[in-house]
């Protein structure tokens, strides 16, 4: 795909990005022993984006031929020229950016595992669950391999290719307890291809056993009480906290809309214990579940510190928002599919680990909760965030008590983060991570365990 860009080097009109992209997906779903889905998907094409009169024209077609490439450039220009009649009042010229050249292909040197082996792997896991745990009313396994393949050429000279894979297996179990259905799932896998994440199915039996035991605990669990409590958020939740509580609020397009972050730059918004970053590449420890080297505007990714020891320091920018705020772009502009325009997205967003020990953090909570596994989450312009919690425990007198049923926790980030009283020395990257904001996007999320005060949605 990279070579298809060659004829257009130095020939693109001013302020033009040309992107060739394919999204590859392989998914297998097995529910109660039945293969419900066994599907490959490959969707791709070429797009061009042109800036004129302070606005963008964008066009995409599902083809990579020379005719298609020329036509998208021409049509994108025509789209952009429409704004001559509808002046935007926005600055046309964006600050110049250092061009980047490079290839990051995470398939290179890797063995591609045949579908038959992957299917057999999944069926082996399913059989293990069915044989060992016949009391389950539902067992569901979902294998999902998703790779984004992009070649990008910009009029200012960036020419790059990135192939970024991620492979996950989600295992969901359910029991009926008295009159209630109780479900719990776990995610295995992460960055890379199947061969990078999975070897023998037997290596995952222990995880399944633990999941089953947790499910049984949850079935006998209690509903949370509603109100504000002191809680421990396990390191598995820190990532979604970083993403939802702060991340979205500091995406510069939302700041321009009016998110509260607009009013708090260089002010204290969190405890001194909180340092929150958004990194490119695979983050500084090389373990994030995604990789972004150059964004879809051709800007090399810069690691940024959004909150530095409690003080809000940076937003995440594309070229236009960087212009607006008179700063440098950070390489946060990304598009999900070939037919999507790039918008500001997070990359690998995390809270830095601290120095406390998890056991000690729990022991210091008199009446609260230890939340262990998240589900979905959502952010807000007010910095109020929420995410679902599907597994955790009560804490009474510094000790873990009953497991809890599903709940939702929330808070106003710029208030809640000031209540953080301890940060553990762990660092866990979420294995999955899919963000929705006009388009979906693979993101990395991670962090340590955190003790704070938070609102818990519960029964009275």
């Amino acid at each position: 795909m990279y070579h298809l860009l060659n004829p257009y080097e130095n020939l693109l009109p001013q302020n033009t990005d040309l992107r060739l992209q394919k999204n590859h997906t392989h998914s297998i779903t097995i529910v109660n022993g039945n293969v419900m889905a066994n599907a490959h998907s490959e969707q791709g094409g070429v797009s061009a984006r042109v800036r004129r009169f302070g606005a963008y024209g964008f066009n995409a077609v599902p083809d990579f031929s020379e005719t298609a490439i020329k036509s998208v450039i021409s049509q994108a220009e025509e789209n952009a020229n429409q704004f001559e009649q509808f002046p935007t009042g926005l600055t046309q010229q964006l600050p110049s950016v250092e061009p980047v050249q490079g290839i990051w292909d995470y398939r290179e040197g890797k063995v591609i595992i045949e579908d038959s082996r992957i299917i057999q792997f999944m069926l082996t896991l399913d059989k293990y669950i069915a044989d060992k745990y016949p009391d389950l009313i539902k067992r569901a396994l979902n294998y999902n391999s998703m790779s984004l393949e992009k070649a990008l050429l910009t009029s200012f000279g960036t020419k790059v290719f990135q192939y970024i894979p991620r492979t996950l297996i989600v295992i969901e179990l359910a029991v009926k307890h008295q009159e209630d259905f109780v479900n719990l799932y776990n995610v295995a896998g992460g960055f890379g291809l199947f061969v990078d994440n999975f070897d023998q199915p037997e290596a995952h039996f222990e995880m399944i056993d633990k999941l089953y035991l947790q499910l049984q605990e949850k079935a006998k669990g209690v509903y949370c009480r509603g109100g504000e409590f002191e809680v421990i958020l396990d390191s598995e939740l820190a990532g979604i906290l970083a993403h939802e509580a702060i991340g979205h609020t500091t995406e510069a397009d939302l700041v321009i809309m009016g998110s509260v972050s607009a009013d708090f730059m260089h002010q204290k918004v969190a405890s001194d214990l909180i340092t929150l970053k958004d990194h490119g590449q695979r983050s500084s420890d090389g373990k994030s579940s995604t990789a972004v080297h150059v964004d879809d505007e051709g800007v090399k990714c810069r690691d940024i510190t959004i909150i530095d020891r409690g003080v809000l320091n940076n937003y995440m920018h594309d070229r236009e928002s960087a212009q607006y705020y008179n700063t440098l772009p950070t390489g946060n502009s990304r598009a999900w599919s070939f037919s999507d325009e790039p918008i500001i997205r997070m990359r690998s967003t995390f809270i830095e680990p601290g120095t406390s020990k998890l056991e000690e953090m729990i022991s210091q909570v008199d009446d609260g909760y230890y939340f262990c596994k998240p589900s979905n989450g959502q952010a807000d312009s007010t910095s109020e965030f929420m995410f679902g919690v599907i597994f955790g425990y009560e804490i009474k007198g510094g000790k873990l008590g009953s497991a809890i049923r599903d709940t939702t926790i929330s808070g106003v980030a710029f208030d809640m983060l000031k209540t953080v009283s301890a940060v553990s020395d762990d660092m866990v990257w979420t294995k999955g991570g899919l963000c929705g904001k006009k388009q979906p996007m693979i993101v990395g999320m991670g962090g340590p365990a955190i003790r704070c005060r938070i609102n818990v949605g519960g029964r009275l």
């Binding site: 293969v35 066994n38 995409a60 935007t88 009313i137 479900n183 939702t408």
Partner: protein
């Protein structure tokens, strides 16, 4: 190069030639014309074409599937080989089948090319007039667009169906802000087969913008309590999706639903009637036919509280040995009731008018908890104030049994269909910030 109309026939013939016992293929062309704006100006004109060819092959009662974005012979042949090869590695499934043949059907709805002038002028006028009529409103990710979907479907039994749907969409994301005070973001989606006209006149848009502007000074609830909840059409649409998922073939098959054996039984208040509709001008985003080619017909889902139908696709009808009822995505209508919104509010002793729900996905038991966004506190029949940091929790099974009233007002042109306001009771409402909200 194959003509669009030849691709399905070619795919099915090739599948058979390569050894498939059965095959179905679904070819979708999408064209989009989308004008975007944000708080400052018109920002982006985006146009695209996409093509998706989805093929399912069945060989020896085993399934393989493929979706590709190409329709040339070589790509189709390679794709079929992969899909057929994949059938060898999965267990047999006796429920796998394709629909029997019936007479060919062709459906058309809406425009086939965008009214570009209307799209531009509508959004430009909207951005300009918004500043004057709703000065506190700030826009994000707002677009006015036209979308056309051309669909060809066929299977190895000779079934052939086509549809050609054009629709206009206005997607609005916004918040209100005044100095340092800001509301939650809110959004609305309005769909129509023809251009939408003056966007500020759309009922959903007007109502939500007005509510955001008067939410600039929210307060938490004074104390935690168990009370009433009035769903807005938007939050009603959200919760209805959960209910419909829990009566789907998928849920029945995994036995992971409280409605498994409830067909014909009363599961909700007699106030509640929900109907599924095929695509039409009133339900432009609905399907004409489903994933297996079954025609979408008008379907009573819940009638005066009684569960009339589960939503069972062609595959699950075979799997569960139950009648096929709904093979795709119908337009959903929750029938209006007999009370005005004002009357619903006046009947509330203490409760919340729920604008938007932001919470963890309800579980299989239909327990839910989350934040009441863009919502208002009601006390003694009157709206007291907009709410902040307020959580609601309950169980959807109980809620729909506890319906106190449904509004005469019903909002249409929504992405899933038409929804009214619904008042229920028995919801736990709490806030960590209320004076008696901590550690109850």
């Amino acid at each position: 190069m194959l003509d669009k109309s030849e691709i399905i026939d070619y795919t099915i013939q090739q599948a058979s030639a390569l050894g498939a016992d059965m095959c179905q293929a679904r070819l979708v062309y999408n064209n989009k014309y989308e004008l975007n704006a944000d708080n400052r100006a018109l920002t982006l004109l985006r146009t695209y074409d996409t093509v998706n060819l989805n093929v399912t092959v069945i060989k020896n009662k085993r399934k393989g599937s493929l979706t590709i974005g190409k329709t040339d012979r070589e790509s189709i042949n390679e794709g079929l080989k992969t899909a057929i090869a994949n059938t060898e590695h999965v267990p047999e499934d006796s429920a796998l089948d394709v629909m029997p043949k019936r007479e060919a059907e062709h459906y058309t709805n809406g425009d086939s090319i965008p009214d570009r002038e209307a799209i531009f002028s509508e959004l430009q006028v909207f951005v300009k007039d918004l500043r004057q009529e709703y000065p506190r409103i700030r826009l994000s990710t707002t677009n006015n667009s036209f979308s056309r979907e051309q669909l060809w479907f066929g299977n190895s039994n000779g079934l052939r169906l086509t549809s050609d749907n054009g629709m206009y969409l206005f997607i609005l994301t916004f918040m209100a802000k005044e100095n340092l005070k800001a509301t939650s973001f809110n959004f609305s989606v309005t769909i129509n087969p023809k251009p939408l006209g003056r966007l500020l006149n759309l009922e959903q848009v007007q109502r939500n913008l007005y509510n955001s502007e008067r939410s600039i000074d929210p307060k938490p609830i004074p104390e935690s309590f168990t009370g009433d909840l009035i769903f807005s059409p938007e939050s009603c649409e959200d919760f209805m999706e959960t209910i419909l998922n829990s009566i789907s073939g998928n849920a029945l098959f995994s036995k992971n639903t409280p409605y498994l054996d409830k067909l014909g039984e009363v599961i909700a208040s007699p106030e509640l009637t929900i109907v599924g509709h095929p695509a039409s001008d009133e339900f432009p985003a609905a399907d004409h036919f489903g994933a297996y080619g079954a025609k979408i017909e008008k379907l009573p889902i819940i009638t005066k509280g009684r569960l009339d139908n589960h939503l069972i696709s062609y595959y699950f009808s075979k799997k569960l040995n139950k009648p096929l009822t709904c093979d795709g995505s119908p337009g959903i209508e929750v029938k209006p009731g007999h009370l005005s919104l004002e009357e619903l509010i006046s009947n509330v002793e203490r409760g919340v008018l729920l604008g938007r729900f932001s919470g963890g996905n309800p579980n299989a038991n239909l327990d839910f908890s989350g934040i009441a966004k863009n919502s208002f506190y009601i006390e003694k029949g009157k709206i007291k104030n907009a709410l902040t940091e307020t959580m609601i929790a309950g169980n959807i099974q109980s809620l729909i049994k506890s319906i106190k009233g449904i509004s005469i007002e019903q909002t249409g042109q929504m992405s899933s269909g038409k929804f009214p306001f619904i008042a229920c009771t028995g919801v736990d409402i709490s806030s960590g910030r209320s004076s008696a909200g901590a550690n109850i």
